[in-house]
Symmetry: C2
């Protein structure tokens, strides 16, 4: 590189015909070329290719005569970065290159000493800081003055042991070199790689004539855009600063005026109506021809507009959706393009209330953003208090060290949940996402003082009843009440997802345990329930008592008697679910948790239970001890309970079948799917299937009604995956419970992993938390093995995933490649999954048709 | 079959040349033919083939004229079963066929009425019971008499509505048919299938002339054998009954005499010296020509011996070893045949004291035979009491509900361990086998009353201090002191295993944590230590305190300070182990358990700990709560501790390296193997390896000494197996910890499986307890995947298994087929493994050379 012939510096004046490409010159150069092609008044601009900039960084100092010769003599220049992707950053722009003593004298003459001093001083400051790498504090002045300018030039000479460079070519060369080298710096590289840049990503540079006009009131600079960035609604926004230069002139400048109707005085529209009109025209051209909502940077000199630059309007998710749909509806882009322009994860922001990004943000503490959305409420510390608060109609935020199944009712009642411990897959996080309740977990900076009902946040102590806001999207805890944006399930959202549904080729169902979940799932157009956990149904107060009687039953008949009382409750649960789902498939997982989860954990609770059951306390304690397990995750649960205490599954099967008949009698139709959890051997399935088939036969005879159902398994153990071939002989479907499968495959308990997972991910031991992002190498291989063996044994086998991973775009891609039939995820992730699935179809179908996007 | 031509009945008179084969006529027919070939005086015998018997059972009633014609007219006959394998049972023998009124009159004349009556009555009884299927009680008499005979014949006629058959051909036909049908009965089929018979296994029948002579004192019957059946030592044993017939005559007959030196009177040797001498000759012929120690059934008539039958001497394990080795040393069988004749599992009986099978057995209760051997001692209920008892020199039996790591010292001190709960792979069972301490677990019939220090066995209440005996081989609990057989690690045992070592082609190492274990391992000629668990080293009193200080350390330096105090202890542990193993490889597993295992579980213990550490109790409680885990098996342990608290592994590595140098300075040599536990990702290995390599480099520089070591991983998670290819890039060996791997693969905690495993196995859900017998379908596939991927990535990768399965013959076969380098098992299973491995080599090499064995 260092030997490169200096005269071969690869630059091109940007014209409509110049050989400028995104991959060689970067997005800004390409964009400017498009503006030129649209006949916009772009000042003369020269683009340096990635290769040229790389050579400069490597030490070649190019001869710039040819380049500078393209501009008028004495023309001040700017240099801006032009990477391949706007998100990859780049060094800041440097303006007014070419300012020197001679130009200073000229401008003093034409525009006065004040203007000339300000221009020269600001260039010296920028050059000293960015090119000579001197301490910017040394060059800071309170007010530009000829004396300050002189001091700056002296300081420069003292530090650098040479006078401030006067040759514009040398100035430009040094600016180019400093910008080229800044791109190679370690932190710049890490930052852009974090945004997806490859190690070899290049930087282009754009050298542009400064669009004259400074000093006089008829000159100025500004930015203009044609949508509101939070909503995406059509609206001209932007600022214009008289006598200003560059973006900084308007960005933090209280004197900058609005473009239309400025209540504080004149607007650009009033001041320069012709210029304003031409900008509006340019905006419309950009939208139509660049097929994007652009923000235009411009100058006005004597009423004449110059367009210096245009960038995609920064926007939040709801604006992104509206812009994409509007462009497609206007025929500017295709529906597929519209779908590709919205990040699936961004959709989840639209489903929940959000803290308005335009408001102030006083962050008390941070945690892991575990369930999106924002909520304001009064602090409570117990589930009981949360329920009490809800019954008074007062929104509350439930704060716990960590949550357990006993907190579910409290979480349901709360507007938001905040826990001190836990990770993305802790109980609070999983349930929070399932309920759609905003949730922050692992807020390690907090300390809960339960005795005094206080929350210590380091800076401040909050007491029960105090108002706080949690932002589950950002993981931030704010004091008091914050300004909110309401959910945006508007026509644009609906339209976009309808387009997605028309395209995608993998099903999307929801995990839904309750009628409320099911209604949300239907609202988000889930194509059925992929996982209905039935055990939550037993935690409700009236049922919990019966459940406990069942656990304490000494004989099969006693157990059956208790179960007989649970039967009508389960039946009505299923009738309600089936009604809501209106014929869509509902996959019901049979009882899964270990029985001890239903017993009280405190001495007090056991005493109450002993009284309720009319048994001695000692027996309650003994039974609890008997049921306790060293590793509940690996214990007597799932199908193991189904095999050893068959009455439970028989009751559930009967409830499902009777509900199916009840729906049929109302004129509805449902083919329930019954799923056996925690299978590890074919015989387990065979045994349970035989019993369920027998229940079905009995119900058919008793009721004189036929019905259909499907029976399948949940694959959660590595062994079930390996033995999928023989298991599929008795199963019509297999749904992968990737939460448990990940636990077993890694030998790692989700509940216990929190203590070291963040360290593990930070240190790169695991590339990602495997409970958050599907481990395709390990767990994924088991999925592929099982899918292949299962389908080989039963061609019609339905395959799906129903773990927490089900809603993530990466997992959906994996499942689609593996030929799965559907994914199932929590209701609030259904829209994300629908969009992600559609994008996969588009990518798969049209990889080659895509034109490079002007991002 | 029913249409089969009756005249084609397939029978052969047994001569040296007759076409008799094991697979067509059964072992007894074949054996009789061999006796004939040895010119022994075998009465005329005819063999019916499997096919003939099958036809008879199917309803063909053969014409027996030809068969009966082979015998002298009026000759009484016997029929005996002849299955392919002696273990497969068969109907009992029927004697004296041919007795009828005419023969009764003849014998009354020649031998008197008493003899004739006894013969006829006993035949009528046998025929009524076995052929006519009448109630035997109806035919029972207190004393044979002509009246009783007449009554029996009348009763027969009344019940059967026909007179007792007089035609000898009809009698024989009915006997044959009844025996043929008995073989097809359900319970007979199940019994033989349990012993390995196929569904199609056939039965042959042997029809033999009764060797005359009844009634007179010069006639009689007996059995003779030439070894002592418990020790296998050469010794003539057996009994002879004058005037007797068949085996029953001697088996439970107090009048039967000894064959030599009967202290109660004359022996066979004195009575019939020539007959005795010819029997001794026959015995020697059998041993040399049938290549087995046989028991001969004979009659003596007027001093002449007839040999009716010969069967392999029933023997226990130690006799089996001695017989096999003696036969090989005498050149009668090859060493390979000797090795094949001993069941590997039988060897473990020889390693321990046994309850003498010849003594009485009063079983108080039964449990699972978890660790073989027997022990007598005084009942104790706590580990402290066990240690106190041991220090007084009094053997004790430790009885616990279940054991935990805190009981290890008590288990060490006890002569035997008995627990109410647990299965083959519970803590007590695993540790018991490791220590070689007899152990019974899951003795669910017991109830421990800790308060009163009593053991309720249902029948009896035992108190602390009472003597009991536990038989860990049989799983039986006996009251008081039982007669014992001492271990038999004698010359025959040693010789057999030396022959095994010369043949086998897979290594055998021992799992050994302590010097005592290591010495036992060496004694059993283990080829090294395959798994040395280091955490046991931290449970000793002085170390536990330092360990707890380490756990409570707030900073890295504090932790390092505590670890620095553990370093010299660890170093001396390793020096001792290396010394004992004298240069054999020692594979040391780095620290594995979660830290909370080292904290006290009781409030009292926490108080003491708080005092010892000079910290407030609240802090001890808080830290304990912080460390508690939902699923400790899947928690912060193994390499996860190694990664997050690197100081622990660094200390251990240093101790290992310093011990290596110390051994070198004494002129010894060791190449330690360091094994990282619970790996699930390649990066974990890479990180730990880098740190250990750094410690090695530091120690080399400090000490100025070079040394080698090998670094590898323990594969216990399914993910490690799947990712073996990349893990092997950083590991020189992989040892499969099949205990944990089975837990993860099934999603099943060994500690919690006990509650349903026996049901699961009984119900056939799992064919076997996978913690006891390696699950080759699931876990085994992971082993194969890992072996294949690991070796593909590193050709020289050493592969082994070190879980509880390591010592079982089935697992060794699996590992050998998979090309593993060695298996590692508890020291007391090393002999079993050595023999099993040799048998595999023999089977593999010479499958076709084996002649059918005369079992």
């Amino acid at each position: 590189m260092a030997n490169r012939n200096l005269n071969l510096l690869d630059y091109s004046e940007i014209t409509g015909a110049a050989p400028i490409a995104l991959r060689t010159h970067g997005w800004r150069a390409k964009c400017l070329q498009r503006l030129v092609r649209l006949d916009m008044p772009v000042p003369k601009t020269v683009a340096l290719s990635f290769e040229a900039v790389r050579a400069i960084a490597a030490g070649s100092m190019p001869d710039l005569s040819g380049l500078v010769g393209r501009f008028d003599a004495g023309q001040l220049l700017s240099v801006r970065p032009s990477a391949e992707n706007t998100d990859w950053g780049g060094p800041g722009a440097v303006l007014n290159i070419g300012m020197n003593n001679a130009r200073y004298a000229d401008i003093t003459e034409t525009h006065g000493e004040k203007v000339a001093t300000a221009l020269y001083l600001s260039f010296v400051q920028a050059y000293a800081q960015h090119v000579a790498r001197l301490d910017p504090d040394m060059f800071a002045v309170s007010e530009p003055s000829p004396r300050a300018l002189e001091a700056a030039l002296d300081d420069y000479e003292k530090e650098m042991e040479e006078p401030f460079p006067q040759d514009p070519k040398k100035q430009l060369a040094e600016v180019l070199r400093s910008m080229a080298r800044a791109w190679e710096g370690t932190s710049a590289r890490l930052l852009r790689q974090a945004k997806g840049a490859s190690a070899e990503a290049g930087l282009g540079l754009v050298v542009q004539a400064m669009a004259g006009g400074y000093g006089a009131p008829e000159t100025g600079a500004g930015v203009i855009q044609f949508i509101e960035p939070v909503t995406g609604a059509p609206q001209i926004t932007g600022r214009y600063a008289e006598r200003g230069q560059g973006r900084e002139a308007v960005s933090n400048n209280p004197q900058a005026m609005y473009l239309t109707c400025d209540p504080r005085g004149a607007s650009l529209e009033e001041l320069h109506p012709a210029a304003f009109q031409s900008l509006v025209r340019h905006g419309a051209d950009c939208r139509e021809k660049l097929r994007e909502e652009m923000q235009i940077e411009f100058t006005v000199v004597n009423g004449e507009v110059s367009v210096l630059d245009a960038v995609k309007v920064q926007r939040n998710s709801r604006a992104a959706v509206r812009v994409a749909v509007s462009l497609a509806e206007d025929g500017i882009i295709t529906r597929k393009e519209a779908l590709m322009r919205v990040t699936p994860r961004a959709l989840s922001e639209l489903l929940h209330r959000q803290v308005d990004p335009r408001g102030p943000r006083d962050v008390l503490a941070r945690g892991i953003a575990a369930s999106p959305g924002a909520a304001t409420g009064r602090l409570v510390f117990t589930s009981t208090a949360a329920q009490a608060s809800a019954s008074r109609g007062e929104p509350c935020i439930l704060v716990r060290r960590e949550t357990s199944p006993e907190d579910i009712r409290g979480m349901h009642a709360a507007a938001g949940v905040l826990t001190e411990r836990g990770g993305m897959t802790s109980h609070a996080a999983v349930i929070g996402r399932g309920l759609g309740v905003p949730c922050i977990v692992g807020a390690t900076g907090l300390r809960i003082d339960l005795k005094n009902r206080q929350l210590h946040t380091g800076r401040r102590i909050l007491s029960e009843g105090d108002l706080i806001t949690i932002d589950g999207t950002a993981g931030e805890i704010l004091p008091g009440e914050a300004d909110m944006l309401e959910p945006a399930l508007d026509q644009w959202f609906t339209t976009l997802l309808d387009w997605a549904d028309a395209l995608r080729d993998i099903g999307v169902r929801a995990n839904a345990d309750t009628p409320a979940d099911a209604r949300i799932a239907r609202g988000f157009k889930a194509e059925g329930i992929g996982l209905c956990r039935t055990e939550h149904m037993f935690f409700e107060d009236d049922r919990l008592t019966v459940m406990r009687e069942m656990i304490f039953a000494d004989t099969g008949p006693d157990r059956a008697a208790a179960l007989a009382r649970l039967l009508p409750m389960q039946r009505s649960d299923f009738i309600e679910l089936f009604s809501i789902m209106e014929g869509l498939p509902v996959c019901i997982r049979l009882f899964d948790p270990p029985l001890h989860e239903f017993l009280p954990h405190t001495r007090e609770g056991m005493k109450q239970l002993a009284d309720a059951l009319d048994k001695p306390l000692s027996e309650v304690v003994r039974r609890s001890e008997e049921l306790a397990e060293f590793n509940p995750m690996l214990g007597l649960r799932g199908v193991r309970l189904g095999v050893t205490l068959p009455e439970i599954y028989e009751m559930q099967a009967r409830a499902i079948f009777e509900a199916t008949i009840a729906i049929g009698r109302r004129g509805g139709k449902v083919v329930p799917e019954i799923m056996i959890p925690l299978v590890s051997a074919m015989r387990e399935v065979e045994l349970v299937k035989a019993r369920i088939d027998a229940v079905a036969a009995a119900v058919r005879v008793e009721r004189g009604n036929g019905f259909e159902y499907r029976l399948g398994v949940m694959v959660e153990t590595p062994r079930a995956a390996l033995r999928a071939g023989e298991i599929a002989q008795h199963a019509e479907f297999m749904s992968f419970g990737t939460n448990d499968l990940t636990q077993m495959t890694y030998g790692l308990s989700r509940d216990d992993a929190g203590r070291f997972m963040s360290y593990y991910v930070q240190a790169g031991v695991f590339p990602e938390d495997p409970f958050h992002v599907l481990d395709t190498d390990g767990v994924g291989e088991l999925l592929l093995i099982a899918a292949e063996r299962g389908r080989r044994s039963r061609k019609s086998l339905t395959l799906s995933i129903c773990g927490e991973h089900g809603g993530s775009p990466e997992s959906i891609a994996f499942c689609r490649d593996a030929g799965f039939d559907y994914v199932s995820c929590s209701p609030f992730r259904v829209p994300v999954a629908r969009l992600a699935a559609a994008q996969l179809t588009i990518k798969g179908d049209e990889a080659s048709d895509q034109m490079p996007d002007l991002r």
